[in-house]
Amino acid sequence: MSHQTTNHTRTMTDDIKDITSQNPDICYQCGKCSAGCPVRNYMDEAPNLIVRYIQLGLYDKAVNSSTIWLCAGCLTCTTRCPKNFELAAFMDALREIALKKGIKIKEKAILKFHKAFLKQIKNHGRSYELGLIRDYKLTTGDLMADVDAAPDMLLKGKIGIFPHNIKGKESIKRIFEKTEVK
């Protein structure tokens, strides 16, 4: 699925097109995505500006933003875009590209949460709450996070103490080996 031609140096736009089948150049910057974005206030750059950076070839600005990590994937932008540009999928692609490039990301805790979550899936095939909390706390060093809520959740059995291992967990491991972006 390469868009590369002989006269064309591969750009981040090509990578985005490969991952999402979306062309960022169709965006005409109406700003409807940013207007409806529930997490816009917490981002360093508005979502439409990230698309603009890509259009202008200012790739570093896009992948270094906190915006791509704070996008909650609510799909309000994707739903409302008058050009049918799937902005949420575009944000997914930029995160994947940022990880591949080894960029130092601004929202470290968010990435650590995702990694801790995926580690449980890789090891057991299904989510394992106690393992997730343990690995998240160990990697962030935020050992006191949610100490108030956790005992109640444990008592109610909402945090599994033991993991549930699926029978096909080896097949899950192989899926991760073939696709995981480290």
């Binding site: 809520a149 029978k167 097949s171 899926i175």
Partner: protein
């Protein structure tokens, strides 16, 4: 009626009561849930935000397992699982090359014909008549704000379910329990979703707006159909109250719990006793009134 069932991870963990109440009510409504054997995580948010192919492969494995079992339809009660399975199906349909690649990764073949439905769609299949027939309690003391959240109706171009901006199917269903539904503005606004642990501040802000709008429009209960939404609106409500002195409580029920109450199941059978914000007082009042009749 038999239907394929993909419970998803949350329903035996943080959303234990959703799992419990789903099993209890569909049994009552004569629907047999056939679990997808050895199902695995759909990839959830963490999958699709880090690797497109990982997300596709994790969901596709489950679709392939369900097909092998001869299932034609799978019901996914978690709105996020529902979304991930449906998006995967559509993307693999759009691109035969991607489908082939993913089949290589999961080491399995996929016909990709299975239908994926959410909890409201399952109720629509069963029909309101069936609920009316089995109804034992009229929930008329409840003023419900039906909260769709993000993933029951979005992405609309893939799900084609209800309406992406002004959906009404949730309210229609809730009305059949005798509960009153309120008109409000935040039924599709995001609760902050997977940011609950790493950016609790965002979840507290966004979820507070949802709770406040529901109460402002006269609701005395919120009804949801997503484990992530429930934990942000119920479990995180303690954090919201702590951060905002004077903040009033509002209980948050899963749709399956609400339907279960109207079918005569009790708090324990439905797992309502596992919530952070207590619901019992309201229910008691309702039951007493019914009994006094």
């Amino acid at each position: 009626m038999q239907i394929g069932y993909y419970p998803g991870c949350s329903l035996s963990g943080t959303a234990k009561e959703y799992g419990k109440s789903v099993r209890a009510i569909f049994k009552q409504l004569d629907v047999e849930l056939a679990d997808v054997t050895d199902w695995s995580c759909c990839g959830a948010t963490s999958g699709h935000v880090t690797s497109h192919k990982l997300a596709m492969a994790l969901s596709a494995r489950n679709l392939a397992l369900a097909e092998k079992q001869g299932l034609k339809e799978i019901f996914a009660p978690c709105a996020a699982c529902f979304g991930r399975l449906a998006v995967t199906k559509q993307e693999l349909k759009n691109s035969p090359a991607l489908k082939e690649e993913i089949e290589g990764i999961i080491e399995d073949k996929l016909n990709n014909t299975i239908e994926i439905i959410n909890i409201i769609q399952l109720f629509q299949k069963i029909g309101k008549e069936k609920i009316a027939e089995k109804k034992v309690l009229d929930l008329k003391n409840l003023k419900a704000a039906c909260y769709y959240g993000c993933l029951l109706v979005r992405p609309f171009n893939i799900l084609h379910f209800d309406d992406a901006e002004q959906p009404t199917s949730f309210e229609e269903l809730v009305k059949s329990t005798g509960a009153e539904v309120v008109e409000w503005n935040y039924k599709l606004e995001c609760c902050g979703a997977a940011h609950s642990l790493p950016r609790k501040d965002i979840v507290v802000d966004l979820s507070k707006k949802i709770l406040d709008d529901a109460m402002k429009h006269g609701a005395n209960v919120l009804v949801v159909a997503c484990p992530m939404c429930h934990s942000n609106l119920d479990m995180r409500q303690k954090n919201i109250i702590k951060a905002n002195p004077g903040q009033k409580e509002i209980p948050v029920l899963y749709l399956s719990e609400l339907i279960g109450l109207c079918l005569g199941l009790d708090n324990k059978q439905l797992g309502i006793n596992l919530h952070t914000i207590d619901f019992n007082i309201r229910l008691k009042k309702n039951v007493e009134e019914e009994v006094a009749k």
